[in-house]
Amino acid sequence: MALKVPRHEMPCQDPKERAHNFNEVALGYASETAIEEAQRCLQCKNPKCVQGCPVNISIPEFIQKITEEDFEGAAAIIKQSSSLPAVCGRVCPQESQCEAKCILGIKGESVAIGRLERFVADYEISKGCKIPEVAPPSGKKVAIIGAGPAGLACAGDLAKAGHKVTIFEALHVAGGVLMYGIPEFRLPKDIVQNEICNLEPMGVEILVNQVVGKVTSVHELLQNGYDAVFIGTGAGLPNFLGIPGENLNGVYSANEFLTRTNLMKGYRFPEYKTPVKVGKKVVVFGAGNVAMDAARTALRLGAEEVSIVYRRSRAEMPARHEELEHAEEEGVKFQLLTNPVSIQGDEKGAVKSLTCLRYELGEPDASGRRSPVPIPGSEFDIEVDTVVVAIGQGPNPLVTQSTEGLELNKWGNIVVNEETLETSIPGVFAGGDIVTGAATVILAMGAGKKAAAGINAYLKNKG
């Protein structure tokens, strides 16, 4: 019977309207919708959905609480495993995680677990932050480098265990990519700050404007009385293609384009004083979440035509389904099986056009994937005045290069013990994108919690 009820749609702003404003696109379930959606869950004895969640949230249990209209109870269950539910409920790639495993998804549509999680988290926020209980002071001090999801989650769990925690953040605000990268229309900044707001009452000190590797260093922190250090500096180094013309005016890294818009609130220029400039015709390289965010941001800043240029086909696009759909609805165009080869400028050094090459899918490779091969002589030009490069980020070397004895892999990511997340330096732990390479919020958050457990054990042994 429950099977007959279709999955409840997420109410959204009208695509025509929202393509021109920065307000949140997805509006969230009303209580009645949430309860009805929760009732679709079969309350499986062996819930597959939980295995699909990287932090193993007790999904049927929190959904059960929703059906009982005990939203606070639902929130408490989620909080046992996740410290950023309002964020993850919005930005998790649910379709390849919890919802991919949901039993209802086999024949029909999976339970909208992410939307329910968001509903519960938003409900809790609307009732005001509840400060978790904190153990008596342990007398131990821990330094956390980077206030992204990994660092924040680690700080929360360590504070609960009674340790004195100080976060060192390079930017002027905490949140990492959640503040500077993911746009307001997908993840409102108030929601992010709300998730952070209960850390300070728990005794966590957040020091902004502190670039570790410059103003202090990992070894200096250890010498200055910190008993352990957690590195959660993310994957903040923008990749470029290395094609001719990439340093012309009008070519942005996605990080710059999004930082100007989100962190510096360039979309409210000139009230906020940091300019961000977008032309009439915009091309974005890449097809992940970052590329979708850049493309949709360009539309909202007034671009007339925005296209995604991507070397592979639609099936390989790594962005979340929802973002792809939303981008399409808003009018973003897709040039698939296409790769840029050079960018041309005018006499003032501004981008004028782009030369691309068409690709076709070749024979399946060892992994069974058909990889794209260039079609000789298929070059064509696109007229364009803004280019955003969104082809991935590497690890920022500021901390890793300034820390003697820290083992890195060949890509410059930190090598850790998989159980404890301890690095090659005793007492120094690491997690999130700086270890895995650019990944997801939930994985970074999970790593922060795992490292907190590792640090707790380390501090206990240290005596």
């Binding site: 930017l171 002027h172 180094l237 290395g242 942005y252 890294s253 510096m264 009230e271 400039k277 500021l398």
Partner: protein
């Protein structure tokens, strides 16, 4: 919050102001050649400024700002006792301070301020220090006394000849070479056109020439790539790889074009409000 403890007006047209700011953590670590990024308030841009001086004991950093647009005009109107919301640093790679032999430190216009701590450190490292400072005219020449106090020899050049030799800093450099001085290294800091002409002048002579680049920046930590430059065949991020580079390798023309990218928006940000020295925010 970071308090302004001292303000001194160095020139009025253009308006150039010296501010001493309380930032003990930065002062404890900063080395010559490094910079800070400041934000006055919540709506402000992140503005990069080179450290002109530091006092580790007092915990202060001195910066010198020339009014060129909205944000610099606002900073220049700050009074003693007011606060910066954000003040982050030290950023960038410190200058290569060692005994090179005879060094020439060139500061053009505002560039005298950033070259000052480098010149002083080079002198302390045992170099013979010859300094060349220049400006359009004598009334906007800054930090002459300070430079004179640390230099073995000081050459002044003004465009209009109102002080020192009439001409550019490159003419000052020519004069030094004409005396038969063997120069081991040059630091040249000032407008991009000036740094380009010094580099062009020294390239055929094979004299090592370091310049300090000032591209548009946002974060200053290597995260955004706004500050990228072409140096030799490579792309470099000035905030983490620089700001100092081998002047013979920098693509100055590209750097100049990139500096002008936001011209229209900068016009819009400008205010009619007068700055302290009676000049508009121009």
């Amino acid at each position: 919050m970071y308090r302004v403890v001292k303000r001194r007006q160095l020139a009025s047209a253009p308006c150039i102001v010296l501010l001493e700011v309380e930032a003990p953590a930065v002062a404890a670590k900063v080395e010559p050649g490094q910079f800070v990024i400041v934000r006055m308030d919540e709506q402000s841009e992140r503005i990069p400024l080179t450290v002109m001086d530091f006092d580790r004991e007092k915990g202060t950093i001195t910066i010198v700002i020339q009014d060129v647009g909205y944000s610099s005009a606002m900073i220049n109107s700050m009074e003693e006792g007011s606060y910066f919301l954000d003040f982050v640093g030290p950023l960038g790679v410190p200058s290569e301070i060692e005994n090179h032999g005879t060094v020439v430190c060139i500061g053009g216009g505002l560039g005298v301020a950033p070259v000052y701590p480098i010149a002083r450190a080079l002198k302390e490292a045992g170099n013979k220090l010859i300094s060349v400072i220049g400006a359009r005219s004598a009334d906007i020449l800054i930090l002459e006394e300070e430079m004179a106090a640390i230099s073995d020899e000081l050459v002044i050049a003004t465009d209009d000849g109102s002080k020192g030799i009439k001409g550019f800093v490159t003419n000052g450099l020519e004069q030094i070479l004409a005396q038969g001085t063997k120069i081991d290294a040059i630091w040249a800091i000032g407008p991009v056109v000036m740094m380009r002409s010094v580099a062009n002048f020294t390239r055929p002579l094979g004299i090592k020439t370091i310049v300090s680049m000032n591209p548009i920046m946002v974060d200053g930590t290597g995260m955004c790539g706004a500050c990228r430059l072409t140096v030799g065949d490579e792309t470099k991020f000035a905030c983490v790889d620089g700001p100092e580079f081998d002047g013979h390798l920098v693509d100055f023309d590209l750097a100049m074009k990139r500096l002008s990218f936001y011209k229209d928006e900068e016009e819009r940000a400008k205010i009619s409000k007068d700055c302290d020295c009676g000049k508009g925010a121009q």
